[in-house]
């Protein structure tokens, strides 16, 4: 299928939306409520484009691409429609971007910047909701919520938890748990999927607070250190500090998902209880030692035991959490150097 976007011919396949074809062709159409894996709701209309032969602007995320369509994504009509939406959103937004955790990675901020919306043209009512930071992981500030409902949909349709939904109508529409309880008093499982989905600063990671701005962090792909699913994480790192953890959107196997441990269980590595020096026990208590001293002690003891009792008097267990290369190296030490197959790990738990 061929369609024309801003004068350029683009290839698409049956079943793709205008948004998908445009993105594949390198055109940037903004979205707020769109979620790649879920059925579009067409709720925010920020993604509108102009289609030749159609009277109204259409939402790119929910309009199927069709052979021969001629589309403009950047006409004045499109831009002014977008500007109007953003002005409405900005008019009731707190605009404390200076201290907002989302600054630099906020879709609303980016749109306002691109469309030249300053927020001065309209002055709307602001919300006055209390900010919920009563748990260690997720801060909820619904004063900043633009009601895109992504959080609700990922909670329900991706994670299958159904902890949050919209309540009330009109200006007072709000996302809330049952009875408007805190997350810890709801069915929430703290997977943080809603935080990853939120395009603005309404849902943010509490631990990330003050640790670094979006443009200061480098993104490092890695694998979750907890269960055997092997979820792919994107660490946001400033210097040596992990600021926050996101899921790799298209990574296998987790396709943008994490659980509470994978998303929020990372900072044990910074604990001041870490072991930082080799220790040798003397008269019942530990004293610090140099690597040379500790390594020599172990190697000499092993040599002595091998000489006296043979290599099978030594045994070891490897770690089921550390990297493959470490386990390989340990079994090699036992087999090739010590000379025993007494090497195991807790394979069974």
């Amino acid at each position: 299928m061929k369609i024309t976007i801003n004068g350029k011919s683009c290839e698409g396949v049956e079943g793709q939306t205008v948004l998908e074809v445009a993105r594949a062709g390198g055109f940037n159409i903004p979205t707020l409520c769109h979620l790649a894996d879920l059925t579009p709701t067409g709720a925010c209309r920020i993604c509108v484009v102009e289609v030749d032969g159609m009277r109204n602007l259409v939402a790119a995320c929910s309009t199927p691409a069709a052979e021969g369509m001629v589309i403009r994504t950047d006409s004045e009509r499109v831009l002014s429609a977008r500007r109007f939406i953003v002005e409405l959103l900005v008019s009731c937004h707190p605009l404390d971007c200076m201290t907002c955790e989302k600054t630099g990675d906020c879709t609303l901020q980016n749109l306002a910047y691109e469309l030249g919306v300053t927020g001065s043209r309209m002055e709307g009512d602001r919300y006055d909701y209390p900010v919920d930071s009563s748990n260690p992981f997720i801060v909820r500030d619904y004063n900043k919520c633009i009601l895109c409902l992504k959080c609700v949909r990922v909670c329900n349709e991706i994670q299958g938890i159904e902890a949050i939904k919209t309540t009330q109508r009109g200006f007072d529409t709000k996302v809330a748990t049952a009875y408007d309880n805190t997350l810890q008093d709801s069915t929430c499982v703290f997977c943080g999927q809603c935080v990853q989905a939120c395009p603005v600063g309404a849902l943010t990671e509490k631990k990330a607070k003050g640790l670094g701005r979006a443009w200061e962090t480098r993104k490092v792909r890695t694998t979750c250190p907890y269960c055997g699913v092997g979820c792919q994480q994107e660490l946001h790192v400033k210097g040596e500090q992990i600021v926050k953890v996101m899921a790799v959107e298209d990574g296998s196997p987790n396709k943008g998902r994490l659980c509470v441990k994978g998303r929020f269980g990372y900072d044990f590595i910074y604990s001041d209880e870490r072991l930082t020096t080799p220790l040798i026990k003397e008269n019942g208590s530990f004293r610090e030692a140099s690597w040379d001293e500790a390594l020599d002690l172990v190697a000499n003891k092993f040599k002595q035991i091998i000489a006296e009792s043979g290599p099978d008097a030594i045994a070891g267990v490897s770690c089921a959490r550390s990297i493959n290369e470490d386990s390989y190296q340990m079994q090699k030490l036992f087999r090739a150097v010590i000379g025993t197959n007494n090497i195991d790990h807790c394979a069974r738990t």
Binding site: V229, E240, L295, V317, N324, R335
Partner: protein
């Protein structure tokens, strides 16, 4: 896993047995839930009415440790009602007749009596399983942590062979691994009987191959000891030096009193860890290690996928990469090893020596990992095993197995069966989760008991009670919940104080030496 997580979302049917997936493998469970939304069927076999069971079309609430009786009864119905995949069984499988003879000893009424599941329910499951194809069978430690663990595993495989649910997408036998790199530690040969890549140490050709690669004259010929035997050999000094890398055995092994006696008796104990633990207390030497995010490397997930792990910070103080520590010991014992980084170890040693990993190099897994078998650099990796019923040994083999009761069953003195497992917000002995804020969501151990038993014993929600077994006793709060059936107590081992492992029974499956964490007898007392 024979199959992959990526196949969950399109699966038509799941049989989940002994897996608390929503808590222990939460992201896997989200894909399962997505499939259910699209109309997939779910049968859960589990003594507890845990969250997954609540989503099930049929929940078979079996008695603890009755898995084989239940599965044999199920297969009895499938065979007697002619519901099995005759073509697959005839062409792709061996040993059906002997298997069938065994299965005939488990008429559905007998299975029902042992498992506590009604005969009609077992029949219903059999019929459902035979109408929806393929089905993915998933299990976790509910299958393996029994004295009959190995037989339990074979029984699940028998069922999938019988139904012809092997060698295609969204099918197979899928053990979900508890820890991030249990799969990898096995693949790497941290096992007493195999070199990396499951090449047997008793095979002279393999010994020769590895001796050449490792530049040594010979390698030990006999299988080594498994972990429980190692520890049991400490008191009489049959094992004189014990090297523990990363494991917190003093909390994770059954019967903490026994484990600590053993550890305390060690002549020479070396521990290598990122934190001081209950286990390092017993060490003579402690090595401080680099942790996750402090070294480059790979983990292998349950679906046999080799994924990259990356370094973002330097280890604290003098802590060093683990591979470096092993290399330094080797050097001091007269062996110079060449590889000097995780990448060199993987690319130049592991993937050269393990045929199934031969095609996996760091350069190929910059983004998504590759699933072994991946024998060549061109190979795309393997999402599911036994394609078209081609098994490693030619055909799939039925293994007739008998049901046996757990080693310790409730009696007058200890009338409850204790089963153990993991909870969502904590992980193992909390060395990691206990230091990342999770205590807010779960701050102490509880004994989960049924409302019926709570009422009988006059125990209130959250009341502190004593749980006692022949090995020890703990005081914990009672969590009265519909999840647990009468006669059962359920606990985890995350908190040292109140850990189930003060109570658990150090008896093992004779083949795998996996402990029976899922069944022992306890008593409950009000304080």
């Amino acid at each position: 896993m024979t199959n992959s997580f990526g196949e969950f979302a399109d699966a038509k049917m799941f049989l989940c047995i002994g897996t608390n997936m929503t808590e222990a493998h939460p992201v896997a469970a989200t894909f399962l839930k997505n499939a259910l939304r699209k109309g997939a069927k779910l049968v859960v076999v589990d003594p507890r009415r845990q969250p997954l069971a609540k989503l099930a079309d049929i929940h078979c609430q079996i008695n603890v440790g009755s898995d084989i009786a239940f599965l044999n009864g199920l297969m009895n119905v499938i065979i007697t009602e002619n519901l099995y995949d005759k073509e697959f069984v005839a062409n792709r499988c061996d040993n059906f007749e002997a298997f069938k003879t065994k299965i005939m000893e488990y008429p559905v009424e007998r299975a029902a009596e042992i498992s506590g599941v009604k005969p009609e329910t077992i029949r219903e499951v059999a019929r459902l399983l035979s109408t929806v194809k393929p089905a993915m069978l998933c299990y976790t430690l509910g299958i393996t942590e029994h004295t009959t663990g190995k037989d339990n595993v074979m029984s699940t495989a028998n069922l999938q062979l019988l139904l012809g649910n092997m060698g295609m997408p969204s099918a197979g036998v899928n053990p979900l691994r508890g820890q991030n790199n249990v799969q990898g530690a096995c693949d790497m040969g941290a096992l007493p009987n195999v070199f990396p890549g499951y090449q047997k140490v008793i095979d002279p050709a393999m010994r020769e191959k590895f001796a050449r690669a490792w530049n040594v004259e010979k390698l030990p010929e006999n299988n080594g000891m498994m972990m429980p035997h190692m520890m049991e050999a400490l008191p009489d000094r049959k094992i004189r030096a014990f090297y523990i890398f990363g494991e917190n055995l003093a909390n994770t092994e059954p019967d903490i009193h026994k484990v600590e006696r053993e550890l305390a008796s060690a002549e020479f104990l070396v521990c290598q860890d990122i934190f001081p633990t209950e286990t390092t207390r017993f060490a003579h030497v402690v090595f401080p290690a680099a942790s996750w995010s402090e070294d480059d490397g790979t983990f292998s997930s349950s679906e046999r996928r080799v994924n990259r792990v990356r370094k973002v910070k330097t280890p604290p103080g003098e802590a060093k990469p683990n591979w470096w520590i092993f290399k330094e010991i080797a050097k001091r014992m007269g062996h110079t090893w060449e590889s000097n980084s995780s990448q060199e170890i993987w690319d130049n040693e592991v993937s050269v020596l393990a045929p199934a990993l031969g095609g996996i190099k760091y350069s190929r897994i910059e983004e998504d990992g590759l699933q072994w078998p991946c024998p060549t650099l061109e190979h795309p990796g393997t999402a599911f095993l036994h394609r078209d019923g081609m098994f490693t040994h030619g055909k799939g083999v039925f293994n007739p197995v008998d049901w046996k009761a757990p080693a310790e069953i409730p009696d007058r003195e200890y009338p409850f069966v204790l089963s153990t497992g993991r909870r969502l917000y904590q992980y193992h002995t909390r060395t990691q989760t206990g230091r990342s804020g999770m205590n807010f969501l779960m701050s102490e151990e509880t004994a989960d008991i049924s409302p019926a038993d709570a009422q009988k014993l006059g125990i209130q929600q959250d009341e502190r009670i004593k749980v006692r077994s022949r090995r020890g006793e703990v005081e914990v709060r009672a969590r009265v919940t519909e999840q647990v059936p009468p006669g059962m107590v359920w606990m985890s081992f995350h908190f040292r104080e109140g850990s189930a492992n003060w109570l658990t029974n150090a008896v093992y499956d004779p083949a795998t030496m996996t402990a029976e964490y899922k069944a022992c007898a306890v008593n409950l007392e009000r304080l």
